[in-house]
């Protein structure tokens, strides 16, 4: 069988594009090299929906950021994932920085960013009393928000599969041939034929591109390290607090997350190409995060850290998104070089890429049964007592709490495993349900999650992994 479209990479771009394509009657397959969706840059970033004042006017980044920011609330609502329009502040800590803030404001106007204002010190501190005393002004962008990038991606993939897209995990593309208008993708799961390819391979998008001879860009992987702090300090700031940007990025931010934690980071360090899958944290990086987060909010303390992580950003040497048909092959469509504001732009990029693809194929009918609303996901922790009682009456598994820190039930974990493009490993369950994401970091529920996964997947518990091949948690039986 020959697919109409194969999307390489199930990050936020790939998954949302798959969902867009599922609106049409096309045979679409979403390929992911890792064991789950959202395993690359999507998994580990600042989780911010930027307003769009950072990018230079006229760039794709500027265009898609503003559009994506506008689209995000509706997309999150349809997909039933949390989104919060908390607004963002770029804070000036000196008179020179005030000038920079003014510059960003003007750039925002040029990019068409709505609801921006310049705040003086008093206005700023009335909004965010926990900022450092040196904070003397800010650019306030009320349209900015926060979102959970992997929840968005999981939901998009799930919705795409529900609407007919095929999802293949552990399916790494290692080579591509093209003959008679058809690509043959050589993958770790065998050969796959497709008429169109969408390259959404993140940090690997340049390698995939080179498989068809397109070497027009190179990805420079860029490391960013973060701390996640306990919910006890999640209310330290209400808005996303940026410092004035530098050449290497937007600086260290302090932001609440949609789940109520506080996130601080990232650093920005270019990495060697061969290290692009290395998400180890470094002592130096984490020390930098601590130091610069304290510049914004002196009371932020990593004593409250519940975890730290590293994200790898796909920084393209051409310094802008690469979107549209490759010059080498018009049936190979790039959705590459997606770095910040990639998450913010994702809904707009997905719509654009799907549109370009459908237009290129020509004469494509609508998928009449498409339903963009993701099925309601029962969240015990957000439910009222009445809803809880009703849910347990229907399915007693909602009455068994597995993760105490986050109040996650067995029923929710089973749902996450059985869902389309569902969880297959402990981290997959964690990203879908938050089981293990609380202050004990899975100390108590980890072994229970392993048991549930084994039971649901018909495996032995020592076959269960943390995040796919080789990351098994247990060895042999003791006896």
């Amino acid at each position: 069988m020959c697919y109409d479209v194969a999307i390489i990479g199930a990050g936020v771009i790939g998954a949302l594009t798959a969902r867009e394509l599922s609106k049409y009657s096309l045979n679409t397959v979403l390929l992911e090299a890792a064991g789950d969706v959202a395993m690359g840059a999507t998994k580990a970033n600042s989780a911010i929906v930027h307003a769009g004042f950072d990018a230079k006017p006229g760039t794709l980044k500027a265009k898609f950021n503003v559009k994506g920011c506008e689209m995000m609330p509706a997309v999150c609502k349809a997909l039933n994932v949390p989104y919060k329009n908390n607004g963002s502040l770029v804070v000036a800590f000196s008179e020179e920085e005030k000038a920079h803030v003014q510059e960003l404001y003007e750039r925002g106007l040029a990019n068409g960013v709505p609801q921006m204002s310049i705040l003086d010190e008093a206005e700023l501190k009335a909004l965010e009393p926990n900022l450092a005393p040196e904070a003397c002004g800010a650019l306030y962008a009320e349209s900015a928000g926060i979102v959970c990038p992997y929840e968005l991606t999981i939901a998009a993939a799930e919705n795409a599969v529900t609407n007919g897209v095929e999802f293949k995990r552990d399916c790494k593309v290692v080579g591509i041939d093209f003959a008679d208008g058809v690509f043959t993708l050589h993958t770790t799961l065998g050969d796959i034929e497709t008429k169109y390819v969408i390259n959404a391979a993140g940090v690997h998008s340049d390698e995939v591109s080179r498989m068809i001879g397109d070497d027009s860009f190179t990805i420079i992987p860029r490391r960013g390290e973060y701390f996640v702090l306990d919910k006890a300090v999640g209310g330290m700031v209400k808005r996303t607090i940026f410092q004035c940007p530098t050449a290497m990025g937007k600086g260290i931010l302090v932001t609440p997350t949609v789940d109520g934690n506080l996130l601080i980071g990232p650093t920005a360090a270019d990495m060697n190409k061969e290290d692009e899958d290395n998400t180890a944290t470094t002592a130096e990086g984490l020390a930098l995060v601590k130091k610069f987060a304290a510049k914004s909010c002196p009371a932020v303390s990593t004593r409250n850290a519940i975890t730290s992580f590293t994200g790898v950003r796909a920084h393209p040497d051409v310094d802008d998104f690469i979107l549209g048909p490759s010059e080498k092959n018009a049936q190979f469509i790039q959705a590459s070089g997606i770095e910040s504001p990639g998450l913010s732009s994702a809904p707009a990029i997905a719509e654009y890429i799907a549109g370009v693809t459908v237009e290129a194929i020509g004469n494509v009918g609508r998928n009449e049964s498409f339903n963009g609303e993701r099925k309601d996901v029962f969240r015990f922790r957000h439910a009222t007592d009445e809803e809880r009682a009703a849910a347990i009456a229907k399915n007693p598994a909602y009455g068994r709490i597995i993760c105490r820190c986050e109040t996650i039930t067995e029923g929710e974990i089973i749902d996450a495993i059985r869902a389309p493009a569902g969880a297959r490993d402990v981290d997959g369950v964690k990203r879908r349900t938050r089981a293990g994401m609380g202050r004990c970091q899975g100390g108590f529920c980890g072994s229970k999650v392993v048991e549930i996964l084994a039971r649901e997947l018909g495996k032995e518990i020592n076959e269960i992994t943390k995040f796919g091949s080789g990351s098994n948690i247990l060895f042999d039986r003791t006896k």
């Binding site: 180890a280 202050r439 970091q441 992994t465 060895f475 042999d476």
Partner: protein, 417 residues
């Protein structure tokens, strides 16, 4: 809605002992709510011996110690709901819980004993850099895998933290055929019992490296090794002492944190040092009718002391249920030189009995004296060959002294070198 005189949250050693004592004191309707499938709490996975030496004067394993109390509970009409999670306690002692069978439960209690135990401190709080490979787990999680599930969580093991669980797991893993390469301890002294250092490490030639920590983890999928380093007097790693150790498992035994989310929900005051509720000598919190005992109150090193403390709480709860709130004149207990914390945090001087103060020191003392001072007078001064943070100590305020105190009195425990 259900009504009970006493709701005990947690069916581990603390919860069971409190419930049994309350029953013995004449409380009629008692229910124990336990989140696990069975009573016993963490003792079920502590299969090593060493429990009961103080309380039963014999050496029992964890499950054996628990079984003695489970048997006693089963002989009474104390109701037990296992697999039941308490979600909330409100300021009127209304308990919300959930399980598969009853669904959402609302239980109105006259009094509540909090006995939720503690949890292990995870990696995140430690700032170990490196990869997120599998094979990094707390010692308690590893203990469950080995002792209850019957699976080996690792073959080449490094243990960070020389708390008792870490020491016990060093021996357990060795007995089951794993190679325990080293136990690293950040502090210049071990947080575990001396007995455990001798019998769990020295017996098996497992090195204990003091003032040493794990600074980095390696390995993409499964852990492949760790970098350890000695630390300076500010506990900062010394670059030149870095050393790579090949291992597939890193077990963390870096401290226990009382599980006080429910306690905080009620609005009960928490002691910043113990991370548990601030209580009086009957273990009553500042919220009338709510008592706390066991590891949720402060982390104990011996279960025997948990049992004894829980009996106090059970007695206090029974008195509250049967006789109502007592006349109280509270005097706070104050930590003097070398003393890190004292439980109880306040003493009701109207209490007619001797009152025992439990405390921990902040560092190791040799040939020192433990001094109890009331209103500036030395009430007792006990010689101690050794005082260590890992071992809980106690002093007693005699009833006669208590009777002579006033609301302006002071109680101080200090170490004299």
């Amino acid at each position: 809605m259900l009504n009970y005189d006493l709701v005990v949250v947690g069916g581990g050693p603390a919860g069971m002992a409190a419930a049994l004592k309350a029953k013995e004191c004449g409380v009629k309707d008692i229910v124990i709510l336990e989140r696990a499938e069975t009573l016993g709490g963490i003792l079920e996975q502590c299969i090593h011996s060493g429990f009961g030496l103080t309380y039963f004067k014999e050496e029992l394993s964890g499950p054996e110690y628990a079984a003695r109390f489970i048997d006693l509970v089963e002989k009474t009409d104390i109701a037990v709901k296992c697999d039941t999670m308490v979600l909330d306690i409100d300021e009127n002692n209304l308990v919300t819980a959930v399980n598969k069978k009853d669904g959402l439960l609302k239980i109105q209690a006259k009094a509540i004993v909090l006995a939720m135990g503690c949890r292990e401190r995870p990696r995140g709080a430690l700032e170990i850099s490196g990869t997120r490979a599998s094979g990094i787990m707390t010692a308690g999680t590893a203990q469950k895998y080995v002792n209850l599930d019957g699976y080996m969580p690792g073959k080449k093991v490094v243990i960070l933290g020389s708390g008792d669980i870490g020491l016990i797991m060093a021996r357990r893993m060795t007995l089951e055929g794993a190679e325990v390469k080293v136990v690293c301890e950040l502090m210049p002294f071990s947080g575990g019992l001396t007995r455990n250092i001798v019998q769990c490490l020295n017996d098996y030639n497992i090195p204990l490296r003091l003032s040493t920590t794990v600074v980095e983890t390696h390995g993409k999928d499964r852990l492949e090794g760790v970098t350890i380093a000695q630390v300076d007097e500010h506990l900062q790693p010394i670059e030149s002492t870095k050393e790579y150790i090949e291992c597939d498992t890193l077990m963390l035994s870096v401290g226990l944190i009382p599980e006080n989310e429910l306690t905080k929900n009620v609005g009960i005051a928490i002691d910043r040092v113990t991370n548990g509720a601030s209580v009086d000598e009957m273990r009553q919190t500042d919220h009338p009718g709510v008592f706390a005992c066991g590891n949720v109150l402060h982390v104990h090193d011996l279960v025997d002391f948990v049992t004894m403390e829980a009996q106090l709480a059970g007695e206090g709860a029974a008195d509250y249920i049967l006789n109502g709130a007592k006349e109280t004149v509270y005097v706070p207990t104050t930590t003097g030189n070398g003393v890190r914390y004292i439980v109880p945090q306040r003493v009701n001087i109207k209490n007619p009995n001797d009152v025992k103060l439990y405390f921990r020191v902040g560092r190791i003392f040799k040939n020192a004296k433990v001094v109890l001072e009331i209103d500036g007078n030395v009430i007792s001064s006990k010689k101690k060959i050794k005082l260590a943070p890992g071992e809980m100590e106690d002093v007693v305020i005699p009833a006669s002294v208590l009777a002579g105190m006033t609301e302006n009195s002071t109680i101080t425990v200090r170490v004299e070198e």
